[in-house]
């Protein structure tokens, strides 16, 4: 078994739509150790969710994995059948979704929906499953668990429902929890509570988390590692400090420039990233960010840059880094 819990190598995934092949992921490589928190940031359509879903074998039709390898907890995900995947889903790897208002089935009780996953993956009987469900509700900070088990989703608030989703996800003590923008649909105070709860549970249960978000504030406070994605590619990967204090890719820098800072005396204007996201039906030949990049060179439009290692855990794909590297090498 490798040292990584999750190891994605050169994943390529496309959606074969009537309009043509949409290359959602182009050579995505990511890895994550047990108990680590990885943040995946990037704008809408950059492939954050697609990467995470493919790890669970939940790629939506007409998407298809066309290259690369996905390893998780000793399983080679690409070679697994749907039946084998079902044993892992909800058991070794779980997911919580963006919108808790619609992610629970409205016609079944909370208890039913939590017990369902326990009964599916463990040998517990109904009574034991119910006990476990109560335990889980207490764990995620829901009071009066006995009463809640009998309630329907519409009787709970958004924050409560997200807690229930987390309880369902944690029911079988997964090795990996994927959180797909878990706080986007919640209001700000509830957001903070949910994030705090997730970090708390991570400490208690020792699972790894993949946090998908476009909120840089969230990743800064929670994550050990950050992957910045753009147009189906990881453009920069590094520790949280690397990304925030030593960003190497122009897109990462752009993202950081567009966050408001509260501690600065003079109020500078936020700098947006100019231009529009790339058309994934016809991705450019070179670096996908080149048309929007302030430091774009001729080669950027022609060829895709390779990854440059800045340190053991920090790498980025940019021609500027390649150039620097080359000049350094030339001097030596």
């Amino acid at each position: 078994m490798s040292e990584y819990l999750v190891n994605i190598q050169n994943e390529r995934l496309s959606f074969f739509t009537p309009a043509g092949e949409v290359k959602a992921l182009n050579d995505v490589s990511l890895h994550l150790k047990e108990g680590e928190v990885l943040g995946i940031v990037g704008e809408s359509g950059s492939g954050k969710s697609v990467t995470a879903y493919s790890l669970m074998g939940l790629t939506a039709y007409p998407g298809r994995l066309i290259g690369g390898t996905l390893d998780f907890n000793g399983h080679r995900i690409n070679d697994m059948t749907e039946k084998q995947m079902r044993k892992i889903r909800g058991n070794e790897v779980s997911i919580i979704f963006q919108d808790p208002m619609t992610s629970l089935n409205p016609v079944y009780t909370i208890g039913n929906q939590i017990c369902e996953v326990i009964l599916l993956h463990t040998n517990k009987n109904r009574a034991q499953a119910k006990e476990r469900a109560k335990e889980l509700l207490t764990l995620v900070g829901i009071n009066e668990p006995e009463k809640r088990l009998k309630q329907y989703p519409h009787e709970l608030s958004g924050g409560m429902r997200q807690r229930v989703m987390i309880a369902i996800a944690l029911a079988c003590e997964p090795k990996l929890l994927i959180a797909d923008e878990p706080t986007t649909a919640l209001d700000v105070t509830i957001q903070a509570q949910i994030l705090e709860l997730m970090m708390d549970l991570k400490e208690k249960l020792g699972m790894a988390i993949i946090m998908i978000t476009h909120d840089l504030g969230v990743v800064a406070s929670m994550c050990d590692r950050i992957a910045v994605m753009y147009a189906g590619k990881v453009v920069e990967y590094g520790s949280t400090d690397d990304i925030f204090y030593n960003p190497k890719h122009e897109y990462t820098r752009g993202l950081l420039r567009s966050i408001p800072k509260l501690n600065e005396k003079e109020h500078k204007k936020l700098v947006p990233i100019e231009g529009t996201p790339v058309d994934m039906l016809n991705p450019p030949k070179g670096c996908p960010f080149a048309p929007r990049c302030g430091s774009c060179m001729k080669i950027c439009l022609r060829e895709m840059p390779a990854y440059t290692d800045i340190s053991d855990v920090h790498y980025s794909a940019c021609w500027l880094l390649q150039k620097e590297e080359f000049e350094k090498g030339g001097n030596a």
Binding site: I88, T102, H154
Partner: protein, 305 residues
């Protein structure tokens, strides 16, 4: 709950009253009368008949008399089927129609729901297209055409099924199929569209993410949500189907209630018109209450107020 029941009953009675009133006056506005079609009736005989049944009085008095009796449960005697009360006609003919209609509903549900699910699960594929074509035909083709085709193929050419009467189980097959055709097609279409809607819901993704198999998530999570529109449609449909179809009953010569609806109007058999209309209205109202209760059972979000 008690408040709900009281409210529903009150509304039901009000609705029945309005239906009866409107039917009564509309019916009397139509020219002609129950005895005007009979040949060689002398003026004296006609007057005597009118007087016997109270038709010589002003319409408002007739209305008052009818309603007073109807409230006590007396729907009067048929004007054309001498010696038979309206209640006894409904009591003998409704069970015949209800039996055929009931079977047709069971058939429609048993075929329509799976067909709709299959189409939704195979969206855009050949099976989906085939089911859509069949369902569209089922809705577009009138029942007399279906009856005739069935009779021609199975009754005449193949000789497998009897074409007239209702004496053995074999007699039931063709009328039931003919009657079930339209609702089956309609239910299949409803089920397809609501299933497609449900399959795209987030909770279906949650079900998959839990590791449930496709069949389990379909039967447990999708079906119960998707069946609601069908429940809405089936309620009133049960009332209409159980009271018989004029066309199907005429073609297969079945002594059901469906024939009475049209026959009584043609004959100006005032009491039968009133009786069958009130009966049908009551049944529709009752089925709507049943629909509400089933709704409440299927979807906990619904509150009966």
């Amino acid at each position: 709950m008690l408040k709900y029941i009281v409210k529903r009953v009150a509304f039901a009675l009000l609705t029945l009253f309005l239906v009866a009133t409107m039917t009564f006056f509309l019916m009397n506005m139509v020219p002609g009368g129950p005895f005007s079609a009979e040949k060689a009736v002398s003026q004296a005989a006609m007057d005597a008949l009118n007087e016997k049944y109270g038709l010589d009085q002003p319409v408002s008095v007739q209305y008052k008399n009818y309603m007073l009796k109807a409230i006590q449960g007396d729907l009067g005697v048929s004007l054309r089927q001498r010696g038979r009360t309206v209640s006894s006609i409904i009591a003998t003919k409704f069970p015949v129609s209800a039996r055929i209609g009931g079977m047709a509903i069971v058939v429609a549900l048993a075929i329509g729901i799976p067909l709709g699910c299959l189409a939704a699960l195979n969206r855009g594929k050949a099976l989906d297209n085939i089911i859509i074509v069949i369902a569209t035909c089922g809705i577009a083709v009138p029942s007399f055409v279906i009856c005739t085709i069935l009779m021609y193929i199975f009754g005449y050419n193949l000789g497998w099924l009897p074409v007239v009467g209702l004496t053995s189980w074999k007699h039931y097959i063709m009328p039931v199929v003919a009657l079930a055709f339209y609702p089956t097609a309609y239910i299949a279409r409803l089920m397809r569209s609501s299933m497609l809607d449900v399959l795209g819901q987030d909770y279906m993704r949650t079900a998959r993410a839990k590791g449930l198999s496709q069949s389990k998530s379909l039967f447990k999570h999708a079906l119960r949500n998707a069946v609601l529109p069908v429940v809405t449609y089936v309620g009133p449909m049960v009332a209409y189907t159980m009271t018989g179809s004029f066309v199907v009953e005429k073609i297969f010569t079945i002594p059901g209630l469906g024939g009475e609806f049209v026959g009584s109007i043609l004959n100006r058999d005032y009491t039968i018109i009133m009786g069958t209309t009130i009966f049908l209205a009551a049944l529709v109202i009752f089925m709507n209450v049943v629909v509400d209760l089933v709704y409440k059972l299927v979807d906990p979000r619904i509150q009966l107020k």
